[in-house]
Symmetry: C2
Subunit: 516 residues, 2 copies
Amino acid sequence: MKQRAMIQYPRSEKCYVSGRVNKIQVGMRRITLQDTVQLTASGEKTVKPNSPLVVYDTSGAYSDPQFEKGEAGGLPPMRAESYGRRKDLCRDEGRGAYRAKPGKIVTQLYYAKKRIITPEMEYVAIRENQQVETLGLKSYITPEFVRKEVAAGRAVIPANINHVELEPMIIGNRFLVKVNSPINYRLELQEPIREVEEQLLNYLAIGCDTLTALFEQEERPMEEADHLRSALLRRSPIPVGVNPLLATAWAGELDWPLFRDRLIALCEAGVDFVRLYPSLLRGECEQLRQRLLRPRSLEYRIWDNWFLAHKGEENFLYVHFDELCEILGSYDVTLSLGDGMRAVSIYDAAADSLRQEELKRVRELVRRAWDHQVQTMVESAGHAPMDKIQGQMKEIQYMGHGAPIFTSGPLLTNAACGLDAVGMAIGGAQAAWQGASLLCCSEPEEALRGKSDTRRGYYQSLIMAKIAAHAADVAKAHPGAGMRDHAICKAMAEGNREADAEALSLIPKRFLKLLK
Amino acid sequence: MKQRAMIQYPRSEKCYVSGRVNKIQVGMRRITLQDTVQLTASGEKTVKPNSPLVVYDTSGAYSDPQFEKGEAGGLPPMRAESYGRRKDLCRDEGRGAYRAKPGKIVTQLYYAKKRIITPEMEYVAIRENQQVETLGLKSYITPEFVRKEVAAGRAVIPANINHVELEPMIIGNRFLVKVNSPINYRLELQEPIREVEEQLLNYLAIGCDTLTALFEQEERPMEEADHLRSALLRRSPIPVGVNPLLATAWAGELDWPLFRDRLIALCEAGVDFVRLYPSLLRGECEQLRQRLLRPRSLEYRIWDNWFLAHKGEENFLYVHFDELCEILGSYDVTLSLGDGMRAVSIYDAAADSLRQEELKRVRELVRRAWDHQVQTMVESAGHAPMDKIQGQMKEIQYMGHGAPIFTSGPLLTNAACGLDAVGMAIGGAQAAWQGASLLCCSEPEEALRGKSDTRRGYYQSLIMAKIAAHAADVAKAHPGAGMRDHAICKAMAEGNREADAEALSLIPKRFLKLLK
């Protein structure tokens, strides 16, 4: 038996809460608190024990001393245990991947609409309100509430049936605000998989909720990126997303058949959500050239070149959108509709008619994705002054039929060069308070410029985004969100700061040096 | 002639704008931009020069290569040049300090109400809108507009007549949001003055607008603190504030006569604003004990002990408030009314009746200070969830009769232990957008715990606060606030990022490593 967990929190132990309906074990973190010692008027000591605080835990089995890594270095395939009993799944013996049986649909959205509470739904319900229930309080977050939110499309549970190591989590406006971080690694390193694992463990320890894998780089063979992505999926208890276009683009001439094959391969590998730009059409893409500053993202440049090279052709993701959704649906891969028209300058954000145009298309695409039972998020990135954030969020909520909003920032200024993480924390907190459900961390300047060691920058962005997300949870009065704050203040008032407050703190002390 | 300035900005030069009415030279920073090179349809190069961007400059004479330090290491006493002609001032030969002649009042508020535009008012008017005027645009910020805002008490120009090295600046809701940083130094250092000067230069280079000098420490003789404070004042082109109570408390038994003498000494030394708690009364101070968490500030603890030791006595700052104002008025020292009742936990902020009580007293004190022609700010610190910030700011604006709000944060969570700077940037940006005029940087955890090297933490807080302040300027559409952002985007679009964008960036590149 292994005594030392790979991720350790002070004064904390791993605990598991069993499902009532389904055979699930939800991992949580129990923080033991010191007794409250007080002096009575007569000068006697009274000692009151404090019940431990159970908090949301992203660290998976890595914070469990019992956990032993498997041969392949991955997590146990917990979710697959129940697959044998499922009549909607089949396994391609050749490719070894699960998929929906012909004519079947396996998405959480489909089951939610059918009024079926899946194990994933019960799992997230326990996860989201455990903190409250341990204090004997009631929370509105029940499995049935989760089902209703998913059925209405207001929440998604990104959980590819092939990501069998996943601990389900939920993204939606009525739930805890989540944080997504990009993950990458230094090209020159000798042991990429070890480096990816090390980064993953730090992300999980800080509280990262989802990852976007960005292993595709021009200098790197696509096979290697695929190899790394699979290694990450086998090790990751949290959802992993990708941008399939980047995972295809280097493979020569880009067209729908080629893209479709890559997409299927990614779905079979187990990616939980895909970030795509079906709403980025030729006409608007050309109009983008009128802006003061055009997007600098790789996706945008790929599409811009593609439109130039394929005169008269339209974005094939839009043209083949229904087929695209059918593929995603047969693995329950969540679709994240990117906003290709996002303003990347305060100047362009002032009157962003192109983004308005795109949102009309987003409104159409969300509806069509739902018709295919595909779970869907709407992305909102880019720049906007603070006074526009609330309006933007309300607009996207309306145009996206209430689908969860996945936002980076918005950034409130272009003038803080190299310090996007700060601007995104300021903007992200307000966006989350006003309705965004998933905050994306900034990619450090160095990463964009291809400089080598960017991990420190990634960690800093993640830490700031976590604080922004928590601030929004507190402002939205999410059940139990303030309990951690209150417990810390109680500990400080009772002089237990060093011990309790540091164990209770949102960001583990060992990461503070990253911002010092 | 000295060729190398003590503070250097890339692609920038110091320039001076002369006053139209008064004999003043307003130092600004002119950033030269590269030409715009484009290719015509016929493939010819067209070269369009870009006019330089003149930006607000806090670096004083230190960014002027011509500047030579004086014998005493201080800045030239520019403001004193005109004093000879003034009929309202006299100089105490013995103590060498200026003060108002008996029966005279010398505050900016007094002159503003008398419809007199002082050199200080013209100075700040030029400073605040130069950026716009260089582009040939008109700005509403004229000397007369400044006078009106000061006369109405909606803005203050902290400028003690004895701080003759000062470059006047203005704090008010209609002007650029300003940032205040605490300044301190490591006890164990051998050359404190050199260390203070080094810190000062870094603060100025980053864009610090005002300082709060915190040299008073229990371990340190008061004379030494006084000596350091004077050294700072002689070197600082920006206003310096103090907490006179801290500068008195260690001097044995604390009472009004003792405090008054210390206050006069500080006014004669040249401090531009004083942070005091006349609104912290015995009754409420005792009620604070009911809170989950009581303030941990030194001021609060001093008053708490004082009330215990002086049964039945009331806060002498409140009792002698009129005399206090008379003293401040005769040097034009700005009064900053501290909020002793601030909530220091999200929990207590939920229903903060004590703070409501205090605000009623603040409302009375602002009026009384104005009756004495004393420029006044209202402080608002402490904790509050995001959804309360707007309401808080509007309430303080009302209760303070529109006096400028000086805020730290508010902090939106207690759970981000050791990372207050992030929470304060998130909260500060919203507070500033909703009406706060001066943002106070957080004191790093280490400083509170008396750890040695805290400078890095101070710089980080300052950088984050500057970004928050600028984000608010952009959201409030302050004249020219967005110009820097737009210029950066234009440079990036034209491929001049490395050169221009880095020169234009809000935070000089050499400080970025502090957050990397």
